[in-house]
Structure formats: C-alpha cells, structure tokens
C-alpha cells in the first residue's frame, strides 16, 4: 500500500491501481453523505478532480494521484456513501486506474512515512 500527501491510499492489483482515502481522511471529513464518481474509460491526469465527496460538513474532491484511464468505479458508494466512514481502507475504494508504468508508484509514501505525516 502507498499513500499520497492528499490522504489517498493506492493499492496495486495486476496492472491497475485501486484508489481510496485513508482512515485519517475519512475521520477528518466526517459523515460522508454523497459521492460522485467518474465515468469508466475517463482518461485522467495527475491532479484532476475525479471524485466529489460531500460530508455533513463540506464538499471536497479526490484528485487523480497518477495519469491513466479509469477502468472501474465503486458504485456501492453512490447508494451507501457512509461506507467511506465504515470501511475506508477496504470495501470503500473509489476507482481503479490503469497506468502505463507501475513504477510511478515509487514516488509515494509507504505506511511509516504516511504515519509520520499525520502523526
């Protein structure tokens, strides 16, 4: 598992990267009440706003951590946004992105580095 400074986690599955948000981010957001996902096959560039999350407190975005193409989105979150708070590291993944070269993940933090960031 890799982590971004924007509190996303990245997990490799074959040649795709699964993206979710960390427990720290889910707690800070508060109760999530709305999730808007991108369309499958959307081509994204690092920094693009790809997901909108609304909590009882405010709206925020998930930014694309890498360049690539969306190959799957987690439709369960649309019907049950609260899953983001219940299981942020597991069943509440947001999207899967196919990248050209998995070595782009090397630049991201490992768990210890991320824990230092939020510590």
């Amino acid at each position: 598992m890799k982590y971004t400074k924007d509190h996303e986690w990245l997990r490799v599955e074959g040649d795709v990267v699964v993206v979710g948000i960390t427990e720290h981010a889910a707690t800070a957001l508060g109760d999530v009440v709305f999730v808007e996902l991108p369309e499958v096959e959307t081509v994204i560039a690092e920094g693009d706003e790809v997901v909108v999350i609304e909590s009882v407190k405010a709206a925020s975005d998930i930014l694309a951590p890498v360049d690539g193409e969306i190959v799957a989105v987690n439709g369960k979150l649309v019907d049950n946004p609260g899953l983001v708070n219940e299981d942020p590291l597991g069943s509440a993944w947001f999207f899967k992105v196919k990248v050209d070269d998995l070595s782009v993940l090397d630049e991201f933090m490992d768990e210890d580095e991320y824990n230092d960031l939020i510590g």
């Binding site: 508060g30 109760d31 009440v33 709305f34 808007e36 909108v52 609304e54 009882v56 407190k57 709206a59 649309v78 946004p81």
Partner: protein, 354 residues
C-alpha cells in the same frame, strides 16, 4: 474548533455531526450557546411604555405578550430589511432579550439609541446560555429543576438550582421540545456537567445545530435573512401579529413599515421556500436555482444533508411565481443542473410542547 462570531466553537464533539443530530431528535442534546447576546430592558417609568417603545423597532406585538411568556422578534431597518432576529420575554417588571452573537454589539447600540429615553438597556455579560433540546430534554432537566415539567412552549421562568437563579425558557432552535437556560458564569460549567451526567444527554456542536435548524425550516441570520430580506420575503409573516398589520390597533410605526405593509397586502417579489433536491447531492448556500426553461429564479441560502430526513434539504429565495409548493426547479451544482422541488417546511415535524 472553528472561529464563530468572535468565539472558538466546536463543529462537532467526538460523536460526530450525524449522530449528534440524530441523538438530539431521539433523546436530548446540550448546546453551549453562551456566545449569544443577553440583554435586559429595565423600564424607567412603566413596563407598558417600554413595551411600546420596543414595538417601534419591530413589526411585532410586544404589548400583547403576557407575563411569563416569550415571543420571536425581528429588528427591521428603514428599507424593511432585517437587522437581526431575536427572542424577548415579558418578565413582569422588565423585558429579557436574546440576540444573535454576530449582531449583539450592533443590537445593543440600536436599542440604546432608540430606547434609552424610556428604559435602561443592560447587557447581561456575566451569564452563560445553554440549550437542552430533544424529546427527553424535559425528563433530564426536571431531575435538576422539577418545576420545568409544568412549562409550555415559549413559557419563561426564573427557577432555583444549586443556590442560583436559572432563567429558563421552553424554546430553542432545533424544532424539538426543549429549554434554553441562562446561568451565572460561575455555575455554568457545573450546570453543563450536571446535565451531561443525565443518561439522555450528549454534547452537540455547531454542525448538528445547523442541520437541526435547517430541517426545522428555521432561518440563520446572515444566511437566510439579512439587511436586504424583508420579513415578508423571508416567510416570517407569522411573526407579525394582527395588532401591527393594516387594520390592527397599532399598525405600522416600525422601521420599513411602508415596504412591509405593502408586501403584506400585495405579496413580495421573492419568497423564502423549502427546496428538496431529488438526488443525493446536497445543494449548499449559493447554489443558483433555475426554472425548467433555464430562467434564473433564485438562490439557495442554506443547504446540506438532513440526517433525519435522510436526504439533502435546502432553503432559499425564488421569484414569487415559482414559489408554489410542488414546483419543479433545477439547482446548478458543479456545472450540472439537478432537479429539485419547492417543498413545505419544516422538513421534519416539530415536537414543541404547546
């Protein structure tokens, strides 16, 4: 913690906004609203003279409020806009006023400028204010102050607890039955702890205070009402009693009377309405509202997710010909026009003990 009207206030406690909201609707929530302004109007000559002078600032029947009763009031300006909304109570030999935190300096100056000929305008600076709200508020508070069980909605009473006088009203701003309790600063912490020790009670932050009042259809000053919105546009006609309207015993005589009486007679140009987005996306303050043919018709002034409604809810102003309940409109969220419907408020039924 966030800055709010010059105070550091918690958005939420450990429980979180959603659970705090639902707990208040199911049991009882304790809110620290000590930032609000408490003021006493102490007559120099007679209560009646002070009440009539207070009426010169509001389109509200002050004189008709019986001793031991409280009423909602609105300070208006010369153009019929709203300077602040407030609660005031007839406490026999004086009037007790509670105003919004962000407006309290201006309100005290306003009252002093207009009323000091007939009464002393005395800011109460040595008392905190707690609100205990929810269907089990009475049970929790009655263990400390048994007499509150006999109070009805909008009653006020001065009742002893722990060697001091509590100034209690049966009111609040959540749509639930409940109480607001003014307590001397030195005992405020002890009273808060005594209430939190009751099994029904959890502390509630600003986040849930906002979602509770939004579901109850209640205005937040500076958002849903301000110096440009008239009480009639704001749907606060219920707060303007017969005595102050055309044909009443004391018609007019308040700032902005010309506009307000005209709007009462012929209807306002725009009206505050409830708005129910059809999807799950909350429509927040500033969301532009359009008719189905694309005509801009208004704007959301408060909006978010309603935990008890289990859906997004909003309120805002729309042109009068689009204000009928059931009218289909659209709100623009992140560049997309999403369906919404003009809806009755409150969004969640109130449980006042009348």
């Amino acid at each position: 913690m966030v800055p709010f009207a010059g105070y550091e206030m918690p958005v939420q406690y450990a429980t979180g906004v959603m659970k705090e909201h639902l707990h208040t609707r199911a049991a009882a929530g304790l809110f620290d609203v000590s930032h609000m302004g408490q003021v006493i109007l102490r007559p120099k000559v007679s209560y009646q003279e002070t009440a009539l002078a207070f009426e010169s600032l509001m389109p509200v029947d002050v004189l008709g409020v019986a001793q031991g009763r409280q009423r909602y009031g609105i300070f208006t300006n010369e153009t019929g806009g709203i300077l602040d909304d407030l609660m005031f109570a007839n406490r026999g030999d004086h009037i007790f006023v509670v105003v919004n935190a962000a407006c309290k300096g201006a309100d005290i100056a306003h009252m002093t400028a207009h009323l000091s000929g007939v009464c002393d305008v005395v800011p109460v600076t040595d008392r905190g204010l707690l609100a205990l709200q929810g269907p089990q508020a009475e049970a929790a508070l009655a263990r400390l102050v048994p007499q509150v069980a006999a109070m009805r909605f909008m009653d006020v009473a001065i009742l002893p607890w722990g060697g001091v006088d509590l100034w209690i009203s049966r009111s609040g701003y959540t749509g639930e039955d409940g109480f607001e309790i003014s307590v001397p600063d030195a005992q405020a912490g002890a009273l808060a702890r005594a209430l939190l020790d009751q099994p029904e009670v959890l502390p509630i932050g600003l986040g849930a205070r906002d979602s509770l009042r939004l579901e109850a259809g209640l205005c937040l000053y500076g958002h849903d009402i301000d110096t440009t919105t008239s009480p009639v546009e704001a749907g606060l006609v219920w707060a303007i009693q017969k005595a102050r309207k055309s044909g009443g015993a004391r018609v007019g005589g308040f700032p902005g009377a010309a506009r307000i009486l005209d709007e009462l007679a012929s209807g306002p140009q725009r009206i505050r309405v409830g708005l129910r987005p059809e999807g799950r996306a909350p429509m927040r303050e500033g969301t532009q509202v359009f008719a189905l043919d694309g005509t801009p018709v208004g704007e959301v002034t408060s909006g978010g997710f309603g935990p008890s409604v289990e859906a997004p809810v909003a309120m805002g102003y729309v042109a009068a010909n689009y204000a009928e309940i059931g009218t289909k409109l659209e709100g623009e969220v992140r560049g997309k026009r999403l369906a919404l419907t003009v809806s009755a408020m409150p969004f969640h039924p109130t449980t006042y003990k009348r």
